[in-house]
């Protein structure tokens, strides 16, 4: 994490504990997260604007799955991770940085890994069906933030959360 080795860290109120997400294009993979012990997210279908794929990769065990949001298995899973999982890993690396993704998944990424496909290649990954519903409902919850009306109520607690990263 940010400046965790700094001795004053434990006695400061305003420390950036989690680096802000890095900007990335959202068109292909609108949602990526490291949560519930998984790298998980939603990949928009290239052919059908109404369809999305829900992909996930479990930390530690490296079990993966991909299906439509209606639980129809992804046709691209043929004993190896599909292109949706690769796209998910690519975008996770852009958003969080390789170190954080690798640490969360408990992978030793080693040298020479820059893309999602390369990261997936380092795993002894295996397919294990999981329900798409949990991840998909988290995505819908994620989207619902955009529907919360803006507000003129001062939020004094946000002084603990300064915006940072100028000139990034």
């Amino acid at each position: 994490m940010a400046d965790v080795d700094d001795a004053g860290w434990a006695r400061r109120s305003s420390v950036r504990v989690v680096p802000a997400a890095r900007p990335r294009k959202l068109a292909k993979v609108p949602f990526v997260e490291l949560a519930d012990g998984r790298l998980q997210g939603v990949v928009s279908s290239g052919s059908d604007i109404e369809r999305v794929y829900v992909s996930s990769l479990t930390s530690g065990t490296h079990a993966y799955h991909c299906s439509t949001n209606n639980n129809r298995p992804c046709g691209g899973l043929r004993g190896t991770p599909c292109k949706h999982l690769e796209a998910l890993a690519d975008e996770a690396i852009l958003q969080y940085g390789l170190d954080r993704v690798a640490r969360y998944l408990r992978v030793d990424a080693g040298d020479g890994v820059t893309t999602g496909a390369e990261l997936l290649g380092r795993l002894d990954a295996r397919h294990e069906p999981t329900q798409a519903a949990v991840v998909f409902s988290r995505f819908l919850r994620h989207l619902s933030y955009l529907e919360v009306p803006s507000s003129t109520t001062p939020l004094p607690e946000l002084h603990w959360f300064p915006s940072t990263g100028a000139g990034r």
Binding site: A21, A27, L155, A166
Partner: protein, 465 residues
């Protein structure tokens, strides 16, 4: 701000500050370990806390709470007393530090006038239960399950406008915990910060703690001269807080005020895209981008906080924030902080610095007035604006907020007058409020695509099915 003022500000700590913060650190350590089984060192720290508050109105409540917590029976009332005791100490620290600042700057401050309490919200119980679980578990024991359990109270609090503060706080805290799981594996935890957020959460979640943000005690007309804008954000919330001088239409001294507008967001909306979430406030954004004054009519105000209503605001002529600060800031009347908000982290006092030397102290950027250094909070420069550490380093005048954290004062720049390629330029954090004015940055942003639009399209297609 003069060299003598900076000297007065940074010459020694207010009496008792170090002792108070040591007591707070004791509570912080206990919360890191969890209150399920309080060890000897934590029990001693909590006993010192109770003793320190022995002559205050909280004495009996805190003494009983500490007894029971150390004996292993933790009730919600005990946790409220613990959070209250810790907050009282930091409130006193806030008052002492702000007093030191006011004395150094000669800044006058009108006292707080009490506001009527509001009806308790039904969503608070869920938040209290989660905060209880967290305190009993301790930061070091936080796992995925406990983090996930924040989801329901956050969702409930977010749906109720009166509990927005609580919702935004809990969501920010939960996101940090989520990113840090397993917390036990961290070399050290941000104990002060998380205990700050926990204690504030507990207080905001009390039925008696509800303060109606809508019923204001006062309304004002006048001319608003923006000094600068402070930007806050975490994964799911953002807020801009504009610091300004208000010249009341009714006459009297100018007032140092601020006004905040904010929006919910998601983690992938960052940088200049933040401004696009505030399109409901075009007058305020235009005032920032064009550096104009604003005439406001019948705007509700409580303490220093103007409650913004864009339809009661009209753009006025150009304002040079540096000139406004130079002429009006020394005599402007500040206002006291709301009682519940008193915490050193809430201190954000506008000042103008000129005639300084830029220096480097062990890698920290500092501004030196008469040889006295003031560290620059470069980590508080927002990614949505053009103000960078390099510009601060090249500056000759700086408008900023004085802040205090972990034993020292720092300056958070809001605007600088700097020399770039032998030309004088003014750069403000709010310069991009109505769009990016730097062609290179604008091009990069355009290439990255419009995150807000993509997500709104996805929401429109997928949310209501």
């Amino acid at each position: 701000m003069l060299g003598t003022q900076l000297t007065a500000l940074t010459d020694g700590h207010p009496a008792g500050l170090t002792d108070a913060l040591d007591l707070v650190a004791g509570v912080d350590a206990a919360l890191a370990h969890g209150l399920a089984r309080v060890g000897e060192a934590d029990a001693a720290a909590l006993a010192s806390l109770a003793a320190a508050l022995g002559t205050t109105p909280l004495a009996d409540l805190v003494a009983e709470a500490v007894d029971k917590i150390c004996a292993g029976s933790v009730t919600p009332e005990h946790l409220a007393a613990l959070a209250g005791a810790r907050s009282a100490l930091l409130g006193a620290a806030h008052d002492a530090l702000l007093g030191q600042l006011d004395a150094a700057l000669g800044r006058g401050r009108v006292p707080w006038s009490p506001a009527p309490p509001a009806a308790p919200s039904p969503v608070l119980a869920g938040a209290r239960a989660w905060l209880h679980e967290v305190a009993v578990t301790g930061w070091r024991g936080v796992d995925h399950e406990l983090v996930a359990a924040a989801g329901t109270p956050v969702e409930a609090a977010l749906a109720a406008p009166e509990s927005r503060r609580l919702a935004v706080l809990l969501d920010g805290l939960a996101a940090e915990l989520r990113a840090c799981v397993p917390v036990a594996a961290m070399p050290q935890v941000p104990a002060r910060r998380w205990a700050d957020l926990w204690a504030r959460g507990v207080l905001l979640a009390q039925d008696a703690g509800a303060v109606d943000p809508v019923t204001e005690v006062d309304r004002v007309d006048g001319r608003l001269l923006p000094l600068g804008v402070d930007v806050h954000e975490h994964d799911t919330a953002m807020q801009i807080q504009v610091h300004a001088i208000l010249e009341p239409a009714a006459g009297g001294p100018p007032r140092l005020v601020r006004t905040a507008v904010g929006a919910a967001k998601v983690d992938t909306i960052v940088g200049p895209a933040l401004w696009r979430l505030l399109q409901a406030y075009p007058t305020l954004l235009a005032a920032l981008a064009q550096r104009r004054g604003v005439t406001v009519a019948d705007l509700p105000v409580r303490g220093a906080d103007l409650r913004w209503q864009d339809d009661r605001a009209q753009l006025d002529g150009p304002v040079d924030p540096f000139a406004a600060a130079r002429v009006l800031l020394p005599g402007a009347q500040a206002a006291a902080t709301a009682p519940l908000d008193r915490h050193p982290a809430a201190i954000a006092e506008p000042v103008l610095l000129e005639g300084y030397a830029v220096g480097d102290h062990d890698g920290d950027l500092v501004l030196e007035l008469d040889g006295r250094p003031l560290a620059v909070a470069v980590d508080r420069l927002p990614s949505c604006g053009p103000l960078t550490p390099e510009l601060v380093a090249a500056s000759s005048a700086c408008l900023g907020l004085l802040r205090w954290d972990d034993g020292r004062w720092r300056l958070q720049p809001l605007a600088v007058r700097a020399t770039v390629k032998r030309k004088a330029v003014d750069v403000h954090t709010g310069d991009w409020a109505c769009g990016i004015t730097d062609a290179k940055v604008a091009k990069a942003e355009a290439k990255a695509g419009d995150a807000v639009a993509v997500l709104r399209e996805r929401a429109g297609r997928l949310l209501r099915r």
